[in-house]
C-alpha cells in the first residue's frame, strides 16, 4: 500500500480541526460507488457525507467501576459522574464536528416533543420494560390517515441488547414492521424461586441469598427503618453475604460467595467488550443504512452467539395481528361478571402477550371516573385494595365497558374493553 505524499489539514469550520483532506474518503466510497450492494435508486445527500453531526444521548445512570471493562468512553476518574455527560464530552473532543448533547434523565422523563425531533432512535436499554416504553412512545407519535400510517410520522427504532456472549439487534419501523410487543413471547421468562423453597427448603446457595434478601432484610432493617437494600452499596452486600453464609451453614449448603451474593441481589448479567462491540456495530450499520438510504436495511432481527464458534442468523419477525401495542385493535377482556377484580389484574400481569408490571386501572362508573386499583401510591393502594376481592358486577362495571390501564410498560394509557361471559 502506497503512502500519502504529505499530511493534509484543511482549514474548516471549527477552528481548523474539523475538516482535513481525505477525512470522508471511506464514507464517499460507500455512498458514491454503485455496485451489487448499493440501492439502485440511491443518491447521496450532503449531510450523509459529513458523518452524523448531531446526537442526543439519554442515560439515567452514573458510572460504576464495573462498567470500565467494556464501556470505553469512561475512565476510572469518571466513576460517579453521569454517563450521558461523560460520553458526550469524550465524543465531542475525539470526533471534531460531532455534537453530542447529554440528558442525564430517565427515558420516561422526556415527552413526545423531545422524541419527535429525531430521525432515528437507537436503544441499548437494560430492561424489557424500558424497551416497551420507548416502543410505545414512538407508536404514540404515529399519524394515521384513512387507517394507513403516514410514513413521515414513522421514526425508526434500532434496538440492541447483549448478555455474555449472546446478543441481538433489530430494526423496528413503528406501525410498519413488528414492534417490541409483537415479539414479547420471544423473551424467556424471568426465573424466580418458589417462596416455599426460599422460606423452608433451600437447596442451592442462591436460595439462601434470596432468603436473606426477601425475608431477613425487611424483618431486620439492618441499616435503618425503611432503608431498602441497595445492591450498589458494598456494606449492604456484605451484610447479605454474611447472613447467607449462616443460612447456608444451617442446611449444609456450600457455594455462597461474595460474588454470587452480589450477582443474585443485583440480578447481574455477565458482560464483555466484544459482544457489545458486535451488536453496537450491527446497530450502527443499520442507522447508517437508514440515514443514507444507500443499502438495504436489516429485515428485521439479528441473533448473535459466539459461545461456541460463531453463530449468527437473521429473520423477519412478524407483526402480531392483535398486538396490544401496535395493532390499533382494542383488546377485549373476557370475564364473567361474578369474577373477582383480582382475576382481571392477574390476567394483565400474567398473560404472555401483556406482561404488565403493576397496572393501574380506572373506569367510568355511573358517569364518574373511578380508580379501581393503583399500586404505586401507598394511600391509594390501601384505599382501593378492597376492590380486588369484589366482583366486577359489585364494582358497577357493565358489559362493553372501557377500562383504562396505565403501566410502566407503556407511556400511553391502554384501553381495554370488558366483555362479560356467562
Amino acid at each position: 500500500m502506497a503512502e500519502m505524499d504529505e499530511p493534509m489539514v484543511v482549514e474548516g469550520g471549527c477552528g481548523g480541526s474539523c475538516e482535513w483532506e481525505g477525512r470522508w474518503n471511506h464514507i464517499k466510497k460507500f455512498l458514491e460507488r454503485s455496485g451489487p450492494f448499493t440501492h439502485p435508486d440511491f443518491e447521496p445527500g450532503t449531510e450523509a457525507l459529513s458523518g452524523f453531526g448531531k446526537i442526543d444521548v439519554v442515560d439515567m445512570d452514573t458510572i460504576d467501576v464495573s462498567n470500565l471493562n467494556r464501556q470505553f468512553l469512561f475512565r476510572p476518574k469518571d466513576v460517579g459522574r453521569p454517563k450521558a455527560d461523560v460520553a458526550a464530552d469524550f465524543i465531542n473532543s475525539r470526533v471534531p464536528g460531532c455534537h453530542v448533547i447529554p440528558h442525564f434523565k430517565k427515558i420516561q422523563d422526556l415527552d413526545e416533543r423531545f422524541y419527535r425531533q429525531f430521525h432515528i432512535i437507537v436503544c441499548g436499554l437494560d430492561s424489557i420494560v424500558a424497551r416497551r416504553w420507548m416502543n410505545g412512545m414512538l407508536l404514540s407519535l404515529l399519524v394515521y390517515e384513512d387507517g394507513e400510517v403516514d410514513q413521515t410520522s414513522v421514526i425508526p427504532l434500532i434496538d440492541g441488547g447483549t448478555e455474555g456472549f449472546k446478543g441481538n439487534a433489530r430494526v423496528i419501523l413503528p406501525g410498519v414492521t413488528a414492534c417490541i410487543d409483537c415479539t414479547l413471547e420471544l423473551y424467556p421468562p424471568q426465573i424466580n424461586f418458589p417462596m416455599c423453597t426460599i422460606a423452608s427448603m433451600p437447596r442451592l446457595p442462591e436460595h439462601c441469598i434470596e432468603y436473606v434478601r426477601i425475608l431477613q432484610w425487611p424483618k431486620e432493617m439492618p441499616f435503618g427503618d425503611g432503608v431498602a437494600l441497595d445492591g450498589d452499596d458494598p456494606e449492604h452486600i456484605q451484610w447479605v453475604f454474611q447472613r447467607s453464609l449462616k443460612r447456608a451453614a444451617e442446611f449444609n449448603i456450600t457455594g455462597v460467595t461474595y460474588r454470587l451474593t452480589q450477582g443474585v441481589v443485583k440480578r447481574i448479567i455477565p458482560a464483555v467488550a466484544s459482544t457489545n462491540a458486535v451488536i453496537a456495530a450491527a446497530c450502527t450499520t443499520e442507522v447508517f443504512k437508514l440515514a443514507t438510504s444507500a443499502y438495504v436495511p436489516l429485515s428485521n432481527y439479528m441473533v448473535f452467539n459466539d459461545v461456541d464458534g460463531l453463530y449468527t442468523y437473521t429473520f423477519e419477525a412478524e407483526r402480531k395481528e392483535n398486538c396490544s401495542a401496535c395493532s390499533q385493535v382494542p383488546v377485549d377482556l373476557h370475564f364473567p361478571p361474578s369474577s373477582k377484580f383480582q382475576q382481571v389484574l392477574e390476567y394483565l400481569t400474567e398473560s404472555t402477550s401483556l406482561q404488565m408490571k403493576s397496572p393501574a386501572v380506572t373506569a367510568t362508573v355511573e358517569g364518574k371516573s373511578k380508580t379501581l386499583y393503583l399500586q404505586s401510591v401507598a394511600s391509594i393502594e390501601q384505599r382501593t385494595r378492597p376492590n380486588l376481592s369484589k366482583s366486577l358486577k359489585e364494582l358497577g362495571l357493565t358489559d362493553g365497558q372501557e377500562l383504562a390501564v396505565a403501566d410502566v410498560t407503556t407511556p400511553q394509557t391502554m384501553l381495554f374493553r370488558l366483555c362479560f361471559t356467562s
Binding site: M1, P7, D308
Partner: protein
Amino acid sequence: MAATKDSKEQKYDRQLRLWGDHGQEALENAHVCLINATATGTEILKNLVLPGIGAFTIVDGHIVSGEDAGNNFFLSSDSIGKNRAQAATELLQELNSDVSGNFVEESPDKLLDNDPEFFHRFTIVIGVQLPESTCLRLGMVLWSASVPFLICKAYGLIGYMRLMVQEHTVIESHPDNALEDLRLDRPFDEFKSHIKSYNLSIMDKKDHSHTPWVIIVAKYLERWLSEHDGQPPKNYKEKEAFRQIIREGILKNENGGLEDEENFEEAIKNVNTALNPTKVPTSVEDLFNSEQCNNITAQSSSFWVMLRAVKEFVYNEGSGSLPVRGSIPDMIADSQKFINLQNVYREKAMQDAAAVSKHVESLLQSVGKPPESISEKDIKLFCKNSSFLRVVRCRSLAEEYSVDSINKDEITSRMDSPDSEMVFYLMLRAVDRFYQLHSRYPGFRKSLRISGAF
C-alpha cells in the same frame, strides 16, 4: 500502575462471571500482536485491551493519512503524519492502565526479511488488511512456531476472518445445554446403597413429597428391571408405561384424588432424559483415538496427559464411563435429602478424580516428569469437564492456498446454493490476487492517490 487485586476484581466483575479467575489469568498472560492499525485492527485491540490482556504490540510501517484519521476512533487529526503504530498505541493504551502497549514502526515484510523469530513471542498474531504474499509468508513462520494467526479484512460491508491454529485445546467449553450426568442406567455402588435407604411405601406424606425425583426414578427403575429381565424401558410405549407406574406411586388423599406431589411430576417429566444411556460422547472418543493421546511424551501438554489418564480410567475403573461429573440439577426436595443426594455424586466424582490422578502420576513418571507438574485442582477441573472437552484444529494457510490441497468440492458445492456466501470468499481471494499482480486494488485509478483498501 499496579491495580490492587480488589480493584481489578471490581473492574472485571462482569467478565469474571463468564470465564472465572483462571480465565482472567490466562488473558493477563497473553501478549497480542496486531499488524496494521486500521479501523478494523484498532477495534479488535480495543476489545482485548478493555478486558485486560497482558500486553499488545502493534506492527505497522504506515504513516497516518487523512483518510485513516477519518475512519479510525483511535487516531486523531493530530496523528496525521505520524507513524500509525505509534499513534494508535497511545490512544489504545489509555483505555486500560493494566495493559502494556508497545509498537514497532516497521512493515511485517521487513520483519519477515530480517527477524522472523520476532513473531514467536506472541500468544496470537492478528493480521489486518495484509496482502496475500505477506499472509502466506507470515503464515508459514507462525505455523511452524505454533503461534495462532487470525487474518481479518473489512471490505465495505463485507467482513472476513480466518483463524489459523494448529491445535487449540479447550477444557472449559461452557456448553449452553449440557445433559446431566446422573448415571441412572449405570448406578454406581454408592448410589445404589443410598437409594436403599429410601422406602417410598412407608414414608409419611411430607417425606414422600420431598423425595428427589432422581431417587424416585431410580427406585421404580429397579423394580422395572427386575420385572423385565434386566431390560430398561426402550421405546415410547415402554417409557409411557414406566411413567404411568410412577404416576401410580403418587399418594392419594381421602377422596381418592391425587395429592399434589410436584417431585413425582418432575420424575415423570424427566423419565426421557433420565433413561438416556450413559456413554462417552463421540467427540471425546475421537480425542481418545488421536495420535496426541496415544503417544504421550515429555513434550505432551498437560491437556493430552490428562486426557490419556481419563482414557485409562474409562477402560479400567470407569468400566466404559467417564469420571462422574458430580453436579446435579436443582429439584423439588427438602434440603437434607437434596444435600445428601448431591454429596453422593460429589464424593463419587472425587473418587473418580483421584483414580484419574493416579493415572496422571504414572504417565508423568513414565516420561520422566515430576508428578506435581499437573495440579490436583487442574485434574479435578478436567474430570468435571470431561464430557465437554474440545480441540480446535485448522488447516494451514499454505494448504488452503495450494492448488493441490484446495477444498474444491466444498467450494463448488456451496456455489450451487443461491444463499451461499461462498461467492464473497472467491471475490476476496480474487481481489487479493489482483493486488498481488498490480500493486493496487481493483477500482482505483492510478491517477488518484493510492490509499489501499478500507
